[in-house]
Protein backbone atom coordinates (compact mmCIF):
# COMPACT_ATOMS: atom_id res chain seq x y z
CA UNK A 1 0.00 0.00 0.00
CA UNK A 2 2.88 2.39 0.61
CA UNK A 3 3.33 4.15 -2.69
CA UNK A 4 6.16 6.31 -1.50
CA UNK A 5 8.71 3.74 -2.56
CA UNK A 6 10.04 3.43 0.94
CA UNK A 7 11.81 0.19 1.67
CA UNK A 8 10.57 -1.79 4.64
CA UNK A 9 12.20 -0.55 7.76
CA UNK A 10 12.32 -3.98 9.19
CA UNK A 11 15.22 -4.93 6.94
CA UNK A 12 17.24 -7.11 9.27
CA UNK A 13 20.47 -6.12 7.62
CA UNK A 14 20.35 -2.64 9.04
CA UNK A 15 21.37 -3.43 12.55
CA UNK A 16 20.93 -6.39 14.77
CA UNK A 17 19.58 -6.23 18.28
CA UNK A 18 22.86 -7.15 19.83
CA UNK A 19 24.91 -4.37 18.25
CA UNK A 20 26.83 -2.39 20.82
CA UNK A 21 25.97 0.92 19.16
CA UNK A 22 22.86 0.24 17.11
CA UNK A 23 22.18 2.61 14.23
CA UNK A 24 19.18 4.79 14.98
CA UNK A 25 15.97 3.57 13.42
CA UNK A 26 14.39 6.95 13.82
CA UNK A 27 16.25 10.20 13.73
CA UNK A 28 15.25 13.85 13.74
CA UNK A 29 17.76 16.48 12.68
CA UNK A 30 17.15 20.13 13.28
CA UNK A 31 13.38 19.85 12.92
CA UNK A 32 11.40 23.06 13.03
CA UNK A 33 7.65 23.23 12.75
CA UNK A 34 4.98 25.85 13.10
CA UNK A 35 1.23 26.30 13.27
CA UNK A 36 0.51 29.13 10.92
CA UNK A 37 2.82 31.96 11.86
CA UNK A 38 3.82 30.62 15.23
CA UNK A 39 6.88 28.41 15.35
CA UNK A 40 6.48 25.66 17.92
CA UNK A 41 9.56 23.50 17.36
CA UNK A 42 12.83 25.36 17.14
CA UNK A 43 15.28 22.73 15.93
CA UNK A 44 14.70 19.34 17.49
CA UNK A 45 17.37 16.62 17.34
CA UNK A 46 16.43 13.19 18.57
CA UNK A 47 17.26 9.62 17.75
CA UNK A 48 15.79 6.25 18.68
CA UNK A 49 17.93 3.14 18.43
CA UNK A 50 16.53 -0.19 17.32
CA UNK A 51 14.78 -2.06 20.06
CA UNK A 52 15.03 0.74 22.56
CA UNK A 53 12.45 2.73 24.44
CA UNK A 54 12.99 6.47 24.40
CA UNK A 55 10.92 8.63 26.70
CA UNK A 56 10.24 12.20 25.64
CA UNK A 57 9.14 14.22 28.62
CA UNK A 58 8.25 17.79 29.13
CA UNK A 59 5.67 20.19 30.46
CA UNK A 60 2.41 21.20 28.94
CA UNK A 61 2.73 22.81 25.55
CA UNK A 62 6.40 21.95 25.13
CA UNK A 63 5.82 20.62 21.63
CA UNK A 64 5.90 16.88 22.26
CA UNK A 65 2.72 16.15 20.36
CA UNK A 66 3.89 18.40 17.57
CA UNK A 67 7.13 16.43 17.35
CA UNK A 68 5.22 13.20 16.94
CA UNK A 69 3.04 14.90 14.34
CA UNK A 70 6.12 15.72 12.31
CA UNK A 71 7.48 12.19 12.56
CA UNK A 72 4.20 10.56 11.60
CA UNK A 73 3.77 12.79 8.57
CA UNK A 74 0.79 14.77 9.82
CA UNK A 75 2.60 18.09 9.95
CA UNK A 76 5.33 18.91 7.44
CA UNK A 77 8.34 20.48 9.13
CA UNK A 78 9.44 23.92 8.00
CA UNK A 79 13.09 22.92 8.28
CA UNK A 80 15.15 19.90 9.21
CA UNK A 81 14.68 16.26 8.34
CA UNK A 82 13.26 13.01 9.61
CA UNK A 83 15.10 9.76 8.89
CA UNK A 84 13.66 6.28 9.19
CA UNK A 85 16.30 3.56 9.11
CA UNK A 86 18.70 5.99 7.57
CA UNK A 87 16.35 7.07 4.79
CA UNK A 88 15.06 10.58 4.58
CA UNK A 89 11.27 10.51 4.91
CA UNK A 90 10.61 14.18 5.55
CA UNK A 91 7.18 15.12 4.27
CA UNK A 92 6.09 11.56 3.42
CA UNK A 93 2.36 10.92 3.81
CA UNK A 94 1.14 9.35 7.05
CA UNK A 95 -0.37 6.39 5.28
CA UNK A 96 2.85 5.64 3.45
CA UNK A 97 4.78 5.81 6.70
CA UNK A 98 2.23 3.59 8.41
CA UNK A 99 2.63 1.19 5.53
CA UNK A 100 6.33 0.76 6.24
CA UNK A 101 5.82 0.08 9.89
CA UNK A 102 5.54 3.38 11.69
CA UNK A 103 2.64 3.10 14.10
CA UNK A 104 1.31 6.13 15.91
CA UNK A 105 -1.08 6.21 18.84
CA UNK A 106 -2.29 9.79 18.92
CA UNK A 107 -3.11 11.69 22.07
CA UNK A 108 -6.61 11.07 23.30
CA UNK A 109 -8.32 10.55 19.94
CA UNK A 110 -7.05 7.27 18.64
CA UNK A 111 -10.34 5.56 17.79
CA UNK A 112 -12.95 5.93 15.10
CA UNK A 113 -15.88 6.97 17.23
CA UNK A 114 -18.55 6.02 14.72
CA UNK A 115 -17.21 2.53 14.08
CA UNK A 116 -17.63 -0.47 16.33
CA UNK A 117 -14.74 -1.97 18.23
CA UNK A 118 -14.40 -4.73 15.69
CA UNK A 119 -14.47 -2.31 12.78
CA UNK A 120 -11.79 -0.27 14.45
CA UNK A 121 -9.67 -3.39 14.61
CA UNK A 122 -10.42 -4.14 11.00
CA UNK A 123 -8.86 -0.81 10.10
CA UNK A 124 -5.69 -2.06 11.74
CA UNK A 125 -5.44 -4.77 9.11
CA UNK A 126 -4.15 -2.20 6.64
CA UNK A 127 -0.86 -2.87 8.35
CA UNK A 128 -0.91 -6.34 6.86
CA UNK A 129 -2.11 -8.53 9.72
CA UNK A 130 -5.19 -10.71 9.30
CA UNK A 131 -8.37 -9.61 11.03
CA UNK A 132 -8.79 -12.87 12.90
CA UNK A 133 -5.32 -12.54 14.31
CA UNK A 134 -5.76 -8.88 15.22
CA UNK A 135 -8.98 -9.68 17.03
CA UNK A 136 -7.60 -12.66 18.86
CA UNK A 137 -4.59 -10.78 20.16
CA UNK A 138 -6.48 -7.60 20.97
CA UNK A 139 -9.17 -9.42 22.94
CA UNK A 140 -6.50 -11.39 24.72
CA UNK A 141 -4.74 -8.21 25.68
CA UNK A 142 -7.88 -6.38 26.77
CA UNK A 143 -10.75 -8.78 27.52
CA UNK A 144 -13.08 -5.80 27.87
CA UNK A 145 -12.77 -5.15 24.14
CA UNK A 146 -13.85 -8.68 23.39
CA UNK A 147 -16.97 -8.24 25.51
CA UNK A 148 -17.81 -5.05 23.67
CA UNK A 149 -16.83 -5.89 20.11
CA UNK A 150 -20.07 -4.57 18.67
CA UNK A 151 -20.25 -1.39 20.75
CA UNK A 152 -19.60 1.90 18.98
CA UNK A 153 -16.19 3.08 20.04
CA UNK A 154 -17.50 6.58 20.70
CA UNK A 155 -19.77 5.32 23.47
CA UNK A 156 -17.04 3.54 25.38
CA UNK A 157 -15.52 5.04 28.48
CA UNK A 158 -12.40 7.15 28.10
CA UNK A 159 -10.15 4.37 29.31
CA UNK A 160 -11.78 1.74 27.11
CA UNK A 161 -11.16 3.94 24.09
CA UNK A 162 -7.55 4.26 25.09
CA UNK A 163 -7.29 0.47 25.31
CA UNK A 164 -8.67 0.11 21.82
CA UNK A 165 -6.30 2.67 20.46
CA UNK A 166 -3.36 0.90 22.06
CA UNK A 167 -4.50 -2.53 21.00
CA UNK A 168 -4.15 -1.47 17.40
CA UNK A 169 -0.58 -0.47 18.00
CA UNK A 170 0.44 -3.50 19.96
CA UNK A 171 -1.01 -6.23 17.80
CA UNK A 172 0.05 -5.17 14.32
CA UNK A 173 3.77 -5.75 14.74
CA UNK A 174 5.07 -2.29 13.94
CA UNK A 175 8.74 -1.43 13.48
CA UNK A 176 8.54 1.90 15.19
CA UNK A 177 5.93 2.78 17.76
CA UNK A 178 5.05 6.35 18.70
CA UNK A 179 2.93 6.64 21.83
CA UNK A 180 1.47 9.97 22.90
CA UNK A 181 0.38 10.13 26.54
CA UNK A 182 -0.36 6.46 26.75
CA UNK A 183 -1.25 6.66 30.41
CA UNK A 184 -3.83 9.38 30.05
CA UNK A 185 -7.14 8.31 31.49
CA UNK A 186 -6.08 4.79 32.35
CA UNK A 187 -6.24 3.16 35.72
CA UNK A 188 -2.79 2.92 37.32
CA UNK A 189 -2.62 -0.82 37.29
CA UNK A 190 -3.32 -0.94 33.59
CA UNK A 191 -0.66 1.68 33.00
CA UNK A 192 1.98 -0.38 34.78
CA UNK A 193 0.98 -3.41 32.84
CA UNK A 194 1.04 -1.57 29.55
CA UNK A 195 4.52 -0.27 30.14
CA UNK A 196 5.66 -3.81 30.77
CA UNK A 197 4.20 -4.73 27.41
CA UNK A 198 5.91 -1.82 25.76
CA UNK A 199 9.15 -3.07 27.26
CA UNK A 200 8.37 -6.52 25.94
CA UNK A 201 7.76 -5.39 22.36
CA UNK A 202 10.96 -3.37 22.51
CA UNK A 203 12.83 -6.52 23.52
CA UNK A 204 11.53 -8.03 20.30
CA UNK A 205 13.20 -5.29 18.30
CA UNK A 206 10.48 -2.66 18.06
CA UNK A 207 11.74 0.86 18.57
CA UNK A 208 9.51 2.94 20.78
CA UNK A 209 9.20 6.66 21.35
CA UNK A 210 6.94 7.45 24.30
CA UNK A 211 5.70 10.92 25.10
CA UNK A 212 4.57 11.53 28.65
CA UNK A 213 4.18 14.26 31.16
CA UNK A 214 4.08 11.91 34.06
CA UNK A 215 7.64 10.80 34.31
CA UNK A 216 7.83 8.17 37.00
CA UNK A 217 6.21 5.18 35.39
CA UNK A 218 7.78 5.57 31.99
CA UNK A 219 11.28 6.14 33.31
CA UNK A 220 11.15 2.65 34.74
CA UNK A 221 11.03 1.07 31.29
CA UNK A 222 12.93 3.60 29.18
CA UNK A 223 16.49 3.13 27.92
CA UNK A 224 16.98 6.78 27.18
CA UNK A 225 15.03 9.82 28.26
CA UNK A 226 14.90 13.32 26.87
CA UNK A 227 13.43 16.49 28.23
CA UNK A 228 11.74 18.92 25.94
CA UNK A 229 10.68 22.38 26.83
CA UNK A 230 9.45 25.28 24.72
CA UNK A 231 10.20 23.56 21.45
CA UNK A 232 13.72 22.34 22.16
CA UNK A 233 15.30 19.21 23.55
CA UNK A 234 17.05 20.53 26.62
CA UNK A 235 18.72 17.36 27.79
CA UNK A 236 19.14 13.70 26.91
CA UNK A 237 20.47 11.00 29.18
CA UNK A 238 19.86 7.86 31.17
CA UNK A 239 16.51 7.66 32.92
CA UNK A 240 18.09 8.01 36.34
CA UNK A 241 20.05 11.09 35.35
CA UNK A 242 16.97 12.62 33.80
CA UNK A 243 14.85 11.79 36.82
CA UNK A 244 16.93 13.93 39.10
CA UNK A 245 16.96 16.68 36.54
CA UNK A 246 13.20 16.42 36.19
CA UNK A 247 12.51 16.96 39.84
CA UNK A 248 14.60 20.10 39.52
CA UNK A 249 12.70 21.23 36.46
CA UNK A 250 9.24 20.43 37.70
CA UNK A 251 9.41 20.71 41.41
CA UNK A 252 12.47 22.79 42.02
CA UNK A 253 10.46 25.80 42.97
CA UNK A 254 8.36 24.19 45.64
Amino acid sequence: MGDSGLPPVGDPGLASVGDPVPAPVLELRGVRASYGRIEVLHGVDLSVARGSVVALLGPNGAGKTTTLGVISGQLPPTAGDVYLAGRRVTGAASDALAGVGLCTVPEGRGVFRTLTVRENLRMATYRGVRLAEVEERAYGLFPRLGERRHQLAGTMSGGEQQMLSLARALVTDPEVLLLDELSMGLAPMIVDDLYQRVRAVAEQGVSVLVVEQFARTVLGVADVAAIMSTGRITSVGSPSAIESELSDAYLGAS
Binding site: P59, G158, G159, A187, M189, I190, Q213, L251
Partner: protein, 275 residues
Protein backbone atom coordinates in the same frame (compact mmCIF):
# COMPACT_ATOMS: atom_id res chain seq x y z
CA UNK B 1 -18.97 -8.78 44.32
CA UNK B 2 -22.68 -9.31 44.54
CA UNK B 3 -22.96 -9.08 48.27
CA UNK B 4 -24.13 -5.68 49.45
CA UNK B 5 -21.54 -3.59 51.13
CA UNK B 6 -22.72 -2.37 54.44
CA UNK B 7 -21.38 1.20 54.63
CA UNK B 8 -23.04 2.08 51.35
CA UNK B 9 -26.63 1.50 52.21
CA UNK B 10 -28.42 4.64 51.08
CA UNK B 11 -29.11 6.02 54.48
CA UNK B 12 -27.84 9.55 54.70
CA UNK B 13 -27.62 9.27 58.43
CA UNK B 14 -25.07 6.53 58.16
CA UNK B 15 -22.79 8.79 56.23
CA UNK B 16 -23.18 12.16 57.83
CA UNK B 17 -24.24 11.95 61.40
CA UNK B 18 -25.54 15.53 61.55
CA UNK B 19 -29.18 16.33 60.91
CA UNK B 20 -28.34 18.47 57.89
CA UNK B 21 -29.00 16.50 54.70
CA UNK B 22 -25.91 16.06 52.52
CA UNK B 23 -25.40 18.51 49.68
CA UNK B 24 -25.64 15.71 47.16
CA UNK B 25 -27.06 12.30 47.63
CA UNK B 26 -27.28 9.58 45.02
CA UNK B 27 -29.33 6.54 45.85
CA UNK B 28 -29.53 3.24 44.03
CA UNK B 29 -28.83 4.71 40.61
CA UNK B 30 -29.00 2.32 37.69
CA UNK B 31 -28.09 3.20 34.10
CA UNK B 32 -28.49 0.69 31.30
CA UNK B 33 -27.30 1.03 27.73
CA UNK B 34 -28.98 -1.76 25.86
CA UNK B 35 -27.55 -4.86 27.44
CA UNK B 36 -24.73 -3.08 29.29
CA UNK B 37 -25.33 -1.95 32.81
CA UNK B 38 -23.01 1.03 33.18
CA UNK B 39 -24.14 1.97 36.68
CA UNK B 40 -25.71 -0.72 38.80
CA UNK B 41 -27.27 0.64 41.95
CA UNK B 42 -24.63 3.11 43.07
CA UNK B 43 -25.25 5.32 46.09
CA UNK B 44 -23.02 8.04 47.41
CA UNK B 45 -23.10 11.35 49.26
CA UNK B 46 -21.05 14.51 49.19
CA UNK B 47 -21.12 17.14 51.94
CA UNK B 48 -20.38 20.81 51.55
CA UNK B 49 -16.78 21.73 52.24
CA UNK B 50 -15.39 18.27 51.61
CA UNK B 51 -13.43 16.66 48.82
CA UNK B 52 -14.80 13.25 47.95
CA UNK B 53 -12.91 10.94 45.61
CA UNK B 54 -14.65 8.64 43.15
CA UNK B 55 -12.22 6.14 41.75
CA UNK B 56 -12.44 2.85 39.93
CA UNK B 57 -11.23 0.94 36.91
CA UNK B 58 -11.85 2.06 33.37
CA UNK B 59 -15.45 1.64 32.39
CA UNK B 60 -16.63 1.38 35.98
CA UNK B 61 -19.31 4.01 35.37
CA UNK B 62 -17.75 7.13 36.85
CA UNK B 63 -18.42 9.45 33.90
CA UNK B 64 -21.90 8.00 33.55
CA UNK B 65 -22.52 8.75 37.23
CA UNK B 66 -21.48 12.35 36.60
CA UNK B 67 -23.87 12.52 33.69
CA UNK B 68 -26.67 11.30 35.91
CA UNK B 69 -25.87 13.84 38.61
CA UNK B 70 -25.73 16.74 36.19
CA UNK B 71 -28.83 15.66 34.31
CA UNK B 72 -27.21 14.86 30.96
CA UNK B 73 -28.20 11.23 31.31
CA UNK B 74 -31.51 9.88 32.62
CA UNK B 75 -31.01 6.94 34.98
CA UNK B 76 -33.11 3.84 34.44
CA UNK B 77 -33.89 4.01 38.13
CA UNK B 78 -32.64 5.67 41.28
CA UNK B 79 -32.76 9.13 42.81
CA UNK B 80 -30.59 12.22 42.94
CA UNK B 81 -31.11 14.54 45.93
CA UNK B 82 -29.79 18.03 46.39
CA UNK B 83 -29.71 19.26 49.98
CA UNK B 84 -32.53 16.86 50.66
CA UNK B 85 -34.69 17.80 47.65
CA UNK B 86 -35.32 15.26 44.93
CA UNK B 87 -33.93 16.72 41.70
CA UNK B 88 -34.09 13.52 39.63
CA UNK B 89 -36.55 15.06 37.20
CA UNK B 90 -34.82 18.38 36.77
CA UNK B 91 -33.27 19.40 33.43
CA UNK B 92 -29.52 19.90 33.29
CA UNK B 93 -29.62 23.69 33.14
CA UNK B 94 -31.93 23.88 36.15
CA UNK B 95 -29.59 21.77 38.20
CA UNK B 96 -26.73 24.01 37.19
CA UNK B 97 -28.65 26.98 38.54
CA UNK B 98 -28.77 25.33 41.94
CA UNK B 99 -25.01 25.56 42.13
CA UNK B 100 -23.92 22.32 40.52
CA UNK B 101 -20.96 22.64 38.17
CA UNK B 102 -18.73 20.17 36.37
CA UNK B 103 -15.82 19.66 34.04
CA UNK B 104 -15.62 17.07 31.31
CA UNK B 105 -13.31 14.15 30.69
CA UNK B 106 -13.55 14.80 26.97
CA UNK B 107 -13.04 18.53 26.93
CA UNK B 108 -16.06 20.66 26.15
CA UNK B 109 -14.60 24.11 25.84
CA UNK B 110 -16.04 26.85 23.68
CA UNK B 111 -13.25 26.58 21.17
CA UNK B 112 -14.05 29.67 19.17
CA UNK B 113 -14.06 31.93 22.22
CA UNK B 114 -11.00 33.13 24.05
CA UNK B 115 -10.08 31.71 27.43
CA UNK B 116 -11.39 34.86 29.10
CA UNK B 117 -14.66 34.75 27.24
CA UNK B 118 -15.21 31.13 28.19
CA UNK B 119 -15.10 32.15 31.82
CA UNK B 120 -16.87 35.45 31.33
CA UNK B 121 -19.76 33.72 29.64
CA UNK B 122 -20.32 31.54 32.69
CA UNK B 123 -20.01 34.52 35.03
CA UNK B 124 -22.61 36.43 33.05
CA UNK B 125 -25.00 33.49 32.98
CA UNK B 126 -24.64 33.18 36.72
CA UNK B 127 -25.61 36.81 37.16
CA UNK B 128 -28.62 36.52 34.90
CA UNK B 129 -29.94 33.55 36.79
CA UNK B 130 -29.62 34.96 40.24
CA UNK B 131 -26.61 32.83 41.02
CA UNK B 132 -25.07 35.77 42.84
CA UNK B 133 -26.92 34.79 45.98
CA UNK B 134 -24.09 32.30 46.30
CA UNK B 135 -20.70 33.62 47.31
CA UNK B 136 -17.95 33.92 44.68
CA UNK B 137 -15.18 31.34 44.95
CA UNK B 138 -12.48 33.95 44.57
CA UNK B 139 -11.70 36.83 46.81
CA UNK B 140 -13.95 39.48 45.30
CA UNK B 141 -16.99 41.31 46.53
CA UNK B 142 -20.20 39.29 45.98
CA UNK B 143 -21.66 42.01 43.78
CA UNK B 144 -18.54 42.42 41.66
CA UNK B 145 -19.17 42.65 37.92
CA UNK B 146 -18.58 39.69 35.63
CA UNK B 147 -15.41 41.09 34.09
CA UNK B 148 -13.65 41.52 37.40
CA UNK B 149 -14.73 38.17 38.67
CA UNK B 150 -13.43 36.59 35.46
CA UNK B 151 -10.10 38.31 35.79
CA UNK B 152 -9.78 37.18 39.39
CA UNK B 153 -10.69 33.60 38.49
CA UNK B 154 -8.15 33.47 35.71
CA UNK B 155 -5.45 34.65 38.09
CA UNK B 156 -6.56 32.15 40.65
CA UNK B 157 -6.16 29.14 38.35
CA UNK B 158 -3.03 30.60 36.81
CA UNK B 159 -4.31 31.46 33.37
CA UNK B 160 -3.93 35.21 33.62
CA UNK B 161 -1.47 35.39 30.75
CA UNK B 162 -3.50 33.26 28.40
CA UNK B 163 -6.74 35.20 28.66
CA UNK B 164 -6.74 36.20 25.01
CA UNK B 165 -5.83 32.79 23.59
CA UNK B 166 -8.49 31.03 21.60
CA UNK B 167 -9.52 28.04 23.68
CA UNK B 168 -9.10 25.52 20.88
CA UNK B 169 -5.40 26.30 20.65
CA UNK B 170 -4.66 25.36 24.24
CA UNK B 171 -2.73 22.23 25.10
CA UNK B 172 -4.76 19.72 27.07
CA UNK B 173 -3.61 20.66 30.55
CA UNK B 174 -4.35 24.34 30.22
CA UNK B 175 -7.65 23.55 28.57
CA UNK B 176 -8.59 21.59 31.68
CA UNK B 177 -7.74 24.55 33.87
CA UNK B 178 -9.91 26.74 31.66
CA UNK B 179 -12.81 24.37 32.16
CA UNK B 180 -12.22 24.55 35.87
CA UNK B 181 -12.23 28.33 35.87
CA UNK B 182 -15.39 28.32 33.81
CA UNK B 183 -17.10 25.97 36.24
CA UNK B 184 -16.02 28.13 39.17
CA UNK B 185 -17.48 31.19 37.51
CA UNK B 186 -20.96 29.80 38.09
CA UNK B 187 -20.29 30.18 41.84
CA UNK B 188 -20.99 26.52 42.47
CA UNK B 189 -21.71 24.84 45.75
CA UNK B 190 -20.72 21.49 44.37
CA UNK B 191 -18.06 20.86 41.77
CA UNK B 192 -17.77 17.62 39.82
CA UNK B 193 -14.34 17.12 38.27
CA UNK B 194 -13.83 14.35 35.70
CA UNK B 195 -10.12 13.53 35.46
CA UNK B 196 -9.06 17.14 35.84
CA UNK B 197 -5.39 16.37 36.38
CA UNK B 198 -4.82 14.26 33.30
CA UNK B 199 -2.75 16.39 30.99
CA UNK B 200 -1.30 18.44 33.82
CA UNK B 201 2.36 18.07 34.57
CA UNK B 202 3.58 17.37 38.09
CA UNK B 203 4.06 20.92 39.08
CA UNK B 204 0.69 21.95 37.73
CA UNK B 205 -0.88 19.02 39.54
CA UNK B 206 0.67 20.23 42.80
CA UNK B 207 -0.77 23.64 42.32
CA UNK B 208 -4.07 22.24 41.28
CA UNK B 209 -4.28 20.10 44.43
CA UNK B 210 -3.60 23.14 46.59
CA UNK B 211 -6.32 25.02 44.79
CA UNK B 212 -8.87 22.28 45.42
CA UNK B 213 -8.02 22.13 49.10
CA UNK B 214 -8.46 25.87 49.41
CA UNK B 215 -11.78 25.78 47.57
CA UNK B 216 -13.06 23.06 49.87
CA UNK B 217 -11.89 25.02 52.88
CA UNK B 218 -14.08 27.86 51.64
CA UNK B 219 -17.10 25.57 51.76
CA UNK B 220 -17.27 24.10 48.28
CA UNK B 221 -18.15 20.43 47.94
CA UNK B 222 -15.99 18.60 45.42
CA UNK B 223 -16.52 15.20 43.84
CA UNK B 224 -13.31 14.17 42.14
CA UNK B 225 -12.87 11.42 39.54
CA UNK B 226 -9.21 10.86 38.92
CA UNK B 227 -6.81 8.07 38.04
CA UNK B 228 -3.96 9.88 39.77
CA UNK B 229 -4.48 7.85 42.93
CA UNK B 230 -1.83 9.59 45.05
CA UNK B 231 -3.53 12.90 44.34
CA UNK B 232 -6.95 11.59 45.36
CA UNK B 233 -5.60 9.94 48.49
CA UNK B 234 -3.81 13.08 49.51
CA UNK B 235 -6.65 15.57 49.25
CA UNK B 236 -9.88 13.58 49.61
CA UNK B 237 -11.46 13.15 53.01
CA UNK B 238 -13.58 10.29 51.80
CA UNK B 239 -13.26 7.95 48.82
CA UNK B 240 -15.83 5.86 47.00
CA UNK B 241 -14.60 3.02 44.81
CA UNK B 242 -16.80 2.13 41.87
CA UNK B 243 -16.42 -1.15 40.05
CA UNK B 244 -18.75 -2.59 37.43
CA UNK B 245 -21.22 0.14 38.26
CA UNK B 246 -21.39 -0.71 41.96
CA UNK B 247 -19.84 0.88 44.99
CA UNK B 248 -17.20 -1.61 45.94
CA UNK B 249 -15.93 0.19 49.00
CA UNK B 250 -15.97 3.55 50.66
CA UNK B 251 -14.25 5.23 53.54
CA UNK B 252 -11.24 7.32 54.36
CA UNK B 253 -8.32 7.10 51.94
CA UNK B 254 -6.41 4.94 54.37
CA UNK B 255 -9.29 2.46 54.76
CA UNK B 256 -9.85 2.22 51.05
CA UNK B 257 -6.20 1.68 50.26
CA UNK B 258 -6.08 -1.25 52.67
CA UNK B 259 -9.23 -2.87 51.31
CA UNK B 260 -8.26 -6.07 49.55
CA UNK B 261 -11.17 -5.86 47.08
CA UNK B 262 -10.03 -2.42 46.01
CA UNK B 263 -6.48 -3.61 45.62
CA UNK B 264 -7.65 -6.49 43.47
CA UNK B 265 -10.01 -4.50 41.32
CA UNK B 266 -8.17 -1.26 40.90
CA UNK B 267 -5.00 -0.47 42.76
CA UNK B 268 -3.31 -3.82 42.66
CA UNK B 269 -0.31 -5.07 40.76
CA UNK B 270 -1.77 -8.07 39.01
CA UNK B 271 -1.68 -7.87 35.21
CA UNK B 272 -4.99 -7.25 33.50
CA UNK B 273 -5.01 -9.43 30.41
CA UNK B 274 -4.25 -13.10 30.19
CA UNK B 275 -1.81 -12.92 27.28
Amino acid sequence: MNDPVAPDSPSPAAVSSSAVPPLLELSEVVVRFGGNVAVDGASLTVDAGTIVGLIGPNGAGKTTTFNVITGLERPSSGRVRWAGDDISGLAAHRRARLGLARTFQRLELFGSLSVAENVLFAAELCRRQGGTVRPPVVDVAPDVDAVHETAALLERVGLGDLAATRAEELPTGLARLTELARALATRPRLLLLDEPASGLDERETERFADLLVELAADGLGILLVEHDVPLVMRIASRVFVLDLGRILASGTPAEVQRDQRVIDAYLGAAPVGEV
